[in-house]
Amino acid sequence: MISDTVVELSRLQFAATALYHFLFVPLTLGLSFLLAIMESVYVMTGNEIYKQMTKFWGKLFGINFALGVATGITMEFQFGMNWSYYSQYVGDIFGTPLAIEGLMAFFLESTFVGLFFFGWDRLSKVKHLGVTWLVALGSNFSALWILVANGWMQYPVGAEFNPDTLRMELTSFAQVFFSPVAQVKFVHTVSAGYVTGSCFVLGISAWYLLKRRHIAFAQRSFAIAAAFGLASTLSVITLGDESGYELGHVQKVKLAAIEAMWETHPPPAPFTVVGFIDQENMTTNHAIEIPWLMGLIATRSLTEPVTGLKDLVAEHEVRIRSGMQAYAALQSVRANPADAQARAALMERQRDLGYGLLVKRYAPNVVDATDAQIARAARDAIPLVAPLFWAFRVMVGCGVFMLLVFVLALVSASRRAIMRQRWVLKLAIVMMPMPWIASEMGWIVAELGRQPWTVAEVLPTWISVSSLTVGDLVFSLVGFVLLYTALLVVEMYLMVKFARKGPAEPDDAPGHAVVLGADAPAEPSKA
């Protein structure tokens, strides 16, 4: 039997390493584009200050990029290490976008990022700009394929169960790639990355402006970040709303859990702003509600209902019972591959096979599950509501706040009033941690909201783990915590140190431009 401790520790390790990786990825996505924009302005205008900007923000980009790459290696391998049953059950589909990510995106980004740093003296202006754009493109393609893979876990289309190989197999690559969930997620997530890059540049520039340092440099950086940030925030919010609409169709459980919708209301359903979640009794106490809003977001209509969690649990019971029959048919096919009747019965109910596996946790033989075990499995099939409910609200709150600050920042910058409106600058600094908080919360909403499945309605999480020992996981988890904490401290130290130091002013002694550890004065670069 699979040990619950192994399952919980594997989940903890995955969440910890993914959330940690996701501290660096959004900044890479956003900053790479901002660097490309700054350098494009440099190449078009020939104004050296934009080159100085590209180099300075590029240096901070490099500090962040190193950890993004380092922690990404873990992600590529830990599916097989910690989730081996998952890997062989769905690797036929899930492995493909990961491999294409390597072929098409990660190679591009990583090969050219070296030239971004080392190529200033060896490439013409235009060629170097091309290199910078390829890095930005590579990192964004990378996000595309990762989110195609993730989108499939949320909404597994284009695949079919094969009883002879006991796994899911690809039937349509196009369906996997063009999955609406994947596409919406991709734009939502990369936009969140652009917001992160913008907040980073905006906040640090605001700090210089408050300190009256590097004013010309900081004003330009501030303006670019404000414009790019506002556009990106609007994109995040629009696509977030689009996700809500998609969820209403394909991930009803997640939507209902995010909104703590226990009952199916007569349409249009109200939206709960805040409340105290009571998962045990399936109710929310002291809720503050806005009438109609939920129905409008989820269905964009006044007449379609939004299904509540209690009704969804009842639906799960039905599907579990059907899944038990699918499982029984599968056993017959395994015993006798020529049993055409059992094969037909299995294919007819293959959509519910995952629900059959859900009850396996309580009834190892599945087919003999009692009503009580079925009811328990059906209750399990909704995620923890309180963390989703709150994570979602924190994410949206951060998003709205950032939108306001970007509007103020852009208005202030375009009226050339930044130096007088010091409160806007202070707001920009206050805003700095928000995109990270929002991104991490977004991850929690998306992935905790997928529970109890690794692949929605296909493969339960607990069955997906490797046959490891608790000792293995304690070893790996302690190692990750120690290593990652140490690296985070080092990274933050360097980031703060180099941000405080600021860009090298053109009239500084050349020695001040030394960044990568040369202990003798640098030559001015001859680009």
């Binding site: 890997s87 690797g91 046959s467």
Partner: protein, 384 residues
């Protein structure tokens, strides 16, 4: 033409093609990231002062990042094309892989952060990290290969869940450690050849010395491993199976373990003996060419790396991960791949993108060509 395409797109051919692609990726990793790992190991040995260490780091500084993707892509490609191997090998070698990951994680940060501060203790701490980041993977990959040749203690249950009945210390047996020495010495000598291409003067002379030492260790350990396999390691042979076109079910075959089975392919096709000979010849040519034509020495060294990996692959074919616990549960080319459709998609993706990767990687190496000297490193703001 359409017959050729039908043949190419058949399950059987694609399985062999994907075995070859995996070999290409592994060899790509060992050649490209291999010299980075080797330079990491040589960092504290060849370079003594801080400036010298910066020279070594900067020989690979602009390109190690792209090179490392061969490793990541190798992981992704096994996942996509051989999901059963991805699942069984990575969970079976869990502790060993965790150590490799921890070591590899130190490298990106080591390269980028080391020279950002002038403090000598900070720098020597990262030097240690870069050494570990080179040494541990170079050794463990060989140890893992050694264990594949011996067979790994895993079995499947009726739900096709893989169970592993060994532990980390079981991997550290004498034969596997010998193969670990093969891979470590091979990559260190490869790294030393690269350093002779990219450095001048005293550093180059020291790299040459270490190239000779590592090269001798490689030749001796590679030969010793071959002799050991001939006399002390049983191979695996498929006795009956569902065929090369059947769905990937690792339980649908029977396997026998017998002495000399790892030489069966060489006996059947004697021309294959050229592959291990090429490994020796490449190492020898690299030795001979290093002081005259370092570029050609690097090519020869790369051939030695490729031939070494290919030797192990050819010996085991069609086995990829034999089980010594339940030999009939072993994973082979015929029963551990993805579905036909996935192999087809991945085939076209690889055919499309791999040449592009090689093309732009070559361009980057061309832009960064030429040796790295102490003078360059001392006076530059674009170096690590």
């Amino acid at each position: 033409m359409s017959d050729a395409l039908t043949f190419l797109m058949s399950y059987e051919t694609l399985r062999v093609v994907w075995w070859l692609f995996l070999g290409v990726l592994l060899i790509g990793f060992a050649i490209m990231d291999g010299f980075d790992l080797g330079v990491g190991v040589l960092l504290p040995i060849v370079a003594r002062t801080d400036d010298e260490r910066r020279v070594l780091i900067n020989t690979i500084g602009p390109t190690w990042e792209g090179n490392q993707v061969w490793f990541v892509l190798g992981g992704g490609a096994i996942f996509a094309a051989f999901p059963l191997i991805y699942a069984a090998a990575f969970s079976g070698f869990f502790v060993a892989l965790i150590l490799v990951l921890f070591a590899l994680i130190l490298r990106p940060v080591g390269f980028d952060y080391r020279s950002k501060l002038a403090n000598p203790r900070w720098r020597s701490m990262w030097d240690v990290c870069l050494f570990i980041g080179g040494f541990v993977p170079a050794l463990v990959f060989g140890v893992a290969f050694g264990n594949l040749l011996l067979g790994v203690p895993f079995r499947y249950d009726e739900a096709l869940r893989v169970h592993y009945d060994g532990n980390f210390f079981g991997l550290l047996n004498p034969f596997a450690l010998l193969v670990g020495v093969v891979s470590l010495s091979l990559l260190v000598s490869h790294g030393a050849v690269f350093l002779q291409l990219k450095t001048v003067g005293e550093l180059r002379a020291r790299a040459r010395r270490w190239h000779r030492i590592a090269g001798l260790v490689f030749v001796a350990s590679f030969a010793a491993a071959g002799v050991w396999i001939a006399f002390g390691v049983d191979g695996y042979r498929i006795a009956s199976f569902a065929g090369t076109q059947a769905g990937s079910d690792p339980l649908a075959k029977s396997v026998v373990v017998e002495a000399g089975a790892w030489f069966a392919n060489f006996r059947a096709q004697p021309v294959l003996w050229l592959i291990p000979l090429l490994a020796f010849a490449g190492a020898g040519a690299a030795w001979w060419l290093a002081s005259r034509r370092a570029g050609w020495a690097f090519v020869a060294s790369g051939l030695a790396v490729a031939a070494t990996i290919l030797t192990a692959g050819v010996a085991m074919f069609p086995f990829m991960m034999p089980s010594n616990l339940m030999p009939s549960h072993s994973l082979t080319v015929w029963d551990s791949t993805s579905s036909l459709l996935t192999l087809r998609w991945m085939f076209w993706m690889t055919v499309l993108f791999l040449p592009l990767i090689i093309l732009y990687t070559s361009w980057v190496f061309r832009v960064m060509r030429g040796p790295v000297t102490l003078e360059q490193v001392r006076g530059s703001d674009t170096h690590y």
